[in-house]
Amino acid sequence: MSGKEIDRRSFLKVMGWSGAGAATLSGCDLPTTVTIEEGKETVVSYLMPEEYVIPGQGVWYASTCQQCSAACGVHGRVREGRLLKVEGNPSSPIGRGKLCNMGQASLQAHYNPDRLKKPLLRKGAELQEATWEEALKYIEERAGKKSGVQGNRAAWLTGNVSGHQAVLLQAHMDSFGSISHYVHELINTAVSGLANKDVLGEVQPVYHLDKAKAVLSLGADFLGASTSPVHFATQYASFREAPRGVLIQVEPSMSLTGANADLWIPARPGTEGVLAMGIANALIGQHGVSAANLPAGVKQAIDGYGIDRAADITGVPRTQIEAIAKTLKERAPSLVLTGASAEGHAHGYNIAAAALMLNVLLGNVGQTITSSGDPAFPQLAARAGNTRDLFAFAEGADKGAFDVVFMWGTNPVYTAPAFLNFEDKLSKVPVKVAFAMYRDETVAKADVVLPLSSPYESWGTHLAAYNSDEPTVAVQQPLMQPIYPDTKSVGDVLLALLKMREPNTYSAFNDYYAYLRKAFSELPATHKVGGSDDAMWVQSLQRALLAAKGTPKELSAKPVAVDFPAYEKDAAYPMHLAPAARLGMWDGRNANLPWLQEQPDQISKVVWGSWAELHPKTADRLGVKNGDYISVTSAQGSIEVPVYVYRGVHPDVVAVPIGQGHTDYGRYATGRGVNPLKVLSQVTDGKTGELALYATRVKVAKVEKKKPGINELMVRFGGSESQVGRKLVASVTADSFNRTEGA
């Protein structure tokens, strides 16, 4: 370290390990071997290859997938300097060697033809190419040490961020004295997180699907758009082995998880909590489950929802409520989960709390739900996003509270509902800095754009938003040289910004690699592996992970008393809008990946566009069939979209999956389909203030389209929806399966 001496405690903070127990300062020699990673590069003909390069033979290196916040470990196959394929890293306790479709398609994010190659600076209405010096100078003048920007007037608007990038980001904010970090993720667990905290004492406990014998999912699409889709899918595989677990799914429109359920039930949207109360009632009344561990208020609330009343409110027949209760009782331990479609209401918190009450009643806490413990490295922990933060940011921006905003990893101009007027409010921030791999709707509004290297060209560390019971720091190492030499990794950009603010502390680090390498040297002794410093570093890179076991804790089990508003009909807007998220398009960020555009949607089998799902009854009433257009109109606006008719949607619901409808997101996404987020009503969860994604009421009408062009055509894979009696997918009963394969 050069420059001003800093004390050891602050030094550990700089390195991201503060709060991680006793640490010893060790020697800080850099490794003596010269590698590409240290920035020394020589052009050598392949006639004389490096020792580890065999022409024609792929070598696999470990890194971390960045398509969502699950942080699955990957192995990337590199041949002649090119990354060719990514596969799951079997050492990763998250993905366990597997990847989802988005992880596979991360290659196309890396090699995307619409990537930004140069920094951009706003000149009038246009963003024009500039050099890094110009771009950084622009930022330094407006947000450097001499700019006078102080405190919360410097804001950050990002997606989920964790690991050492979060440490540097925090340091950058600290340099202003700012706490204005707004983390926006559309697909989030903000509502259930608070309910978990209140009932279990922990925001994100660990779920054990593999240990459950029955799962009741109130809209939790854990196999699809969830916090850790691959991890839950690997658990699901054990859940389905003999003796086979039962999955019951309650949701307004069918998700990927619902498509795999043994019983799929569409409750009236927003009444999932009442259903939970009805089930509790049946458990206590019919199955003698003791309510002794429930507080009096909770017991009283349950008594208020008799089975018949619950059936009446939810529209789920009494027999089904009783059957669910019976299944949950007989197949212990069970697990009750909630997801976006249940939590996305004005009383979403109450629904999540009611589900947790069921877990307590059934004795699942400590069995299928356990504590994730206190994190080993609190500084590195994921800053999990939500939409509430976006509201707060928009309000601040509107009031002129910010001089500068740094945006990264989120595309709020696309995801923000129209009622927020986000574009207008964002434009009131005088200096908008964006770091991005591609031009998107938000980047297009920025004043200066710094082009990022892809995750597979960058160093980094990540902590998953959802940790399994083996929490790890996932290490991300470059798998190849940057395709575009004028791009920088996120870490390097953060470091460059920090050098403007805190040159004494950070000028010693040439690049982000040097910072990370140093950080690993300073790892607290409690977490070191592999003997020497170099050995530990090499092992961390080979496995691309570092165990980060925290301090174990016990969960509490204190259900909170909740009540539910009466279900109200809306004469002007009689239908509910379900803006479902899918494994693939996710929150719209993957719409620029051609493999995922061309992959048929798991449920509707639509490709390259949007669609609306309607129940046959509703479609009959409107007089529409597959491919016909309807308008979906809320108080906030209207979208026109072709319909797909099937029986996996509640008759009062129109489901329009999110992800399409981009206006400025490269050649594959722009001008394709519609964005249902734009017509969302201004409803938030009463307790958390989180956007109520599923609370929009709409009306639906047939729209005549004469001679639709290819852009308007709804293109689907496959003809017949029926097997027409042939034995394509056959099935046996669970009894027979458990008998023949149970041993």
Binding site: G56, R79, L84, K85, E87, G95, K98, L99, C100, N101, Q104, A105, Y111, N112, P113, A233, T234, Y236, A237, R240, R244, M254, A259, N260, A261, L263, W264, I265, P266, L583, G584, P594, W595, L596, E598, Q599, Q602, I603, K605, V607, W608, G609, Y646, R647, G648, N711, L713, V715, F717, G718, S720, E721, S722, R726, L728, V729, S731, V732, T733, A734
Partner: protein, 282 residues
């Protein structure tokens, strides 16, 4: 295998398995797909695009049925043994997913109709497609009861991989040009590599040496791949356990509850892919 060899031994290559087969097989690559575990997510399909240089054809060509998805996930809303469903108000048993790739039939209907022997049976038990020999008659595709062969109606390489997407192309196999038929190869390039490695190390190919791209990615491990001639391989054991045998048009099981079945085996195609039935609560 040269063309001359094929011409000289035409009869031999055209003999079906009921006449004792036409090869001394070195391997018999086979797949088992457990529909109880498959969730229909499509990770396998995208992995296949990445591994096998599959072209993205775009919306208009997809609409014409020209997509090149070697591995596709079919989704049905009914099942023959789940009755009745038409009168139910809701899709209460979810969906029925079916990953479909070339079934690598041992009595393949695509093979005998090829006028130039561009598709033939390898000593590995695969239906090989020789791109250089293919003249694009599309007879094979017409004759495939599974509709698992895909024809290059265009030079997709001109539009599918704009720079730098082309850098991702797998150099272990070719990019196909207009006028050529293609299909799932069971990741023959991976089989090739595993066989070469085994030979170099002076040993036989071990079970697990070859992982197809779809199998590798599957988050629920629903796909098992291996050599049926290896008595210790997982696939051999699974076929045995589920009482399904190659070379039959109907299985006579001692325990009819065993889940293994082959699609359309009654057509005497003798597919090398065995599916395990879904499991349903009733």
């Amino acid at each position: 295998m040269s063309l001359q060899n094929i011409l000289n031994n035409w009869d031999k290559y055209r003999k079906g398995h009921e006449a004792g087969g036409h090869h001394v097989y070195e391997h018999m690559w086979s797949m088992v797909i457990d529909l109880n575990k498959c969730i229909g997510c499509g990770a396998c399909s995208v992995a296949c695009y990445a591994e096998n240089n599959l072209a993205v054809v775009g919306k208009d060509r997809f609409e014409k049925g020209q997509a090149m998805h070697w591995l596709r996930i079919e989704r049905y809303w009914d099942e023959p043994n789940l009755k009745p469903t038409a009168s139910d108000e809701f899709q209460q048993h979810g969906a029925s997913f079916l990953p479909m790739m070339c079934q690598q039939c041992n009595a393949a209907t695509c093979e005998p109709v090829c006028p130039v022997a561009a598709t033939y049976h390898t000593p590995d038990g695969l239906n090989a497609q020789v791109y250089n020999r293919c003249i694009g008659s599309r007879y094979c595709s017409n004759n495939c009861p599974y509709r698992l062969r895909y024809f290059n109606f265009y030079s997709f390489y001109e539009t599918s991989w704009p720079e730098p997407l082309n850098l991702q192309l797998n150099p272990d196999l070719s990019v196909r040009d207009k006028g050529v038929m293609e299909k799932c190869t069971f990741c023959v390039q991976r089989i090739r590599t595993a066989k070469d490695t085994a030979r170099r190390e002076g040993r036989k190919v071990r079970d697990g040496d070859v992982q197809t791209a779809c199998q590798q990615s599957c988050p629920t491990t629903a796909i098992v791949f291996g050599d049926m001639l290896d008595p210790e391989s997982r696939v051999t054991k699974l076929w045995k356990a589920h009482e399904v045998e190659l070379g039959k048009t109907a299985q006579h099981k001692q325990h009819p509850e065993k889940r293994g079945y082959r699609i359309f085996e009654g057509l005497n195609t003798d597919p090398c892919v065995m599916y395990l039935e879904r499991v349903r609560e009733v």
